[in-house]
Symmetry: C2
Subunit: 236 residues, 2 copies
C-alpha cells in the first residue's frame, strides 16, 4: 500500500540507460509512475533520450575566451555566478534546486556510473553551484544542496554476495563511496541506502516482480526512511 505523503514533494529522476526496453529503463518508468500516483511532482532527466553531452569542455562556458587557459574550476565558477553557463547545464541546475529528492537510476558499469551520468555530474555540479569558495563549505547543513534526499538505484550483473564485506568486489557502500559520500554528502544531500537489483543481465520474470515490489517499498518511504550515517573518519 502506498503511503499518503503529508504533502506533495518534488522529485528529480535522472536515468542513464541506452535501451528503453531494458530492465533499468523499466525501473525508471516504474518509479516515475509510482511517485506521481502518490501525489508527487516528478521531473525526469533521461540522459540518453536527451542526448546529454558527457564531456566538460570550453563549449560549456560560452563566454570563455578561446585563447584563455581553461582552468575548469575558475571558469565554471565565473560562468555560474554570472549566469552564463550553457543552457543545458543551467536547466539541470534548476531541476536540482527545485527537487526535494533526487534519484539516480543507472546500471553499474565498472563499479560506477555510466559515462553519460558521470558527465551529467561533471557538467552540472559546477563551482559556484555545488562547491567552491562562493558557496557554503561541503558536508555541512548549509552545503549547497542540503535538505534534499538522494537515492542511488542500480542494477548490476554480479550476484548479490559478490558485493559484500567478504565478497570478491567489496561492500556496495564502499564501491559507491565516490557517489554516496563524494557527491551526495559533499553537496549536502542525505543519501539513503542504495537500492540494488543484482544479476540483472538475466532476471527471471518472478524475480523482476520481486525487485519491483522491493523498489516500491523504497519509493514509498523516500521521505521517511533514515539516511545512511555520515562516514565517520576512521581513527587510526
Amino acid at each position: 500500500m502506498t503511503e499518503t505523503p503529508d504533502q506533495s514533494k518534488n522529485i528529480l529522476v535522472v536515468a542513464a540507460h541506452p535501451e528503453p526496453r531494458s530492465l533499468n529503463a523499466s525501473l525508471t518508468a516504474f518509479a516515475v509512475d509510482r511517485l506521481r500516483a502518490a501525489g508527487h511532482q516528478v521531473r525526469l532527466s533521461d540522459l540518453y533520450a536527451m542526448k546529454w553531452k558527457a564531456t566538460v569542455d570550453a563549449d560549456d562556458f560560452p563566454s570563455h575566451a578561446p585563447d584563455r587557459r581553461l582552468h575548469v574550476m575558475d571558469v565554471s565558477q565565473e560562468a555560474t555566478l554570472s549566469g552564463r553557463l550553457s543552457p543545458d547545464i543551467a536547466a539541470e541546475q534548476d531541476k536540482l534546486r527545485w527537487a526535494d529528492a533526487v534519484i539516480l537510476q543507472f546500471p553499474m558499469w565498472w563499479f560506477s556510473a555510466p559515462a553519460v551520468l558521470k558527465g551529467w555530474i561533471d557538467r552540472v555540479f559546477t563551482s559556484g553551484f555545488a562547491y567552491g569558495p562562493d558557496v557554503p563549505p561541503p558536508y555541512g547543513e548549509d552545503a549547497p544542496l542540503s535538505g534534499r534526499r538522494a537515492l542511488l538505484s542500480v542494477t548490476y550483473g554480479a550476484r548479490e554476495r559478490s558485493f559484500s564485506a567478504d565478497g570478491i568486489h567489496g561492500r556496495l557502500q564502499d564501491v559507491l563511496h565516490p557517489l554516496q559520500h563524494g557527491l551526495l554528502r559533499f553537496t549536502g544531500m542525505a543519501p539513503l541506502e542504495p537500492f540494488a537489483v543484482p544479476e540483472a543481465n538475466a532476471l527471471p520474470a518472478e524475480r523482476f516482480a520481486d525487485a519491483r515490489e522491493a523498489y516500491a517499498r523504497r519509493l514509498d518511504t523516500l521521505f521517511t526512511s533514515e539516511p545512511v550515517p555520515f562516514r565517520a573518519p576512521a581513527r587510526t
Copy 2:
C-alpha cells in the same frame, strides 16, 4: 637518475584533461618524455585531443540491428568476438593488448575519473575483450589483461590529509577502489600505489618541481615497484 630498464617496454598513457596548458597535461607530457628517454615505447591516447566519444550507444556496434534491443553486454560481446566493433574502440583495444603497462592520467572530478575517461573505460573494456563468458574469469592470473602494470596518476584540489583514514573524504585507495580494484584488478592488471598531486588548483612553482620529481621516481620504478596487495575480503 633514470634506471636503465633491462629491456624496452611498451607503455600506454591515457590522458583526460581538456586544457593542454594545465598542470595535469604537463604531467602527461613529462611522463611521455621521461619514459621515452628511458628507452621505452610509449603510445599516448589524449582523449580530449582525440575528441573521444564518451557515451556507449548503438553506434559502437555497427552490425547491431537498430530495431533489436540493445543488451549492452550481449551486443558488445558479439561485436567483439566477430571483429565488428567501432574502429575507435578496436584501436584502443589493440593498444591495451600491446602495452606492458598502462598509465591513466587525470584530474579527480567528484572522486573519480572525468566522464571522457569513464567513457573510454565503458566503451573499450567490452565483453569478450575485458570480461564475459568467453574470456578467463576476473581477478585471476589468466584474466584478459594480466601481466600488465597499471598506474593511476591523479591531481586533485583538496589537501592531502583530506584523503586519509581520518580525513573528511576517506582514504585515497578507498575512493579509487572502483578503478584500482573494479577495473584494474578485475581485468588482471597489477595496480601500483596511485600517484597523486594534491592542491593542484593553485600549485606554487617549487611544489610543482617537487611533484615532478616525485613522479619521475614513480615512472622510473614502474616495472620494479611492488603492486598494491589484492584486496583481501573482510572477514566479518
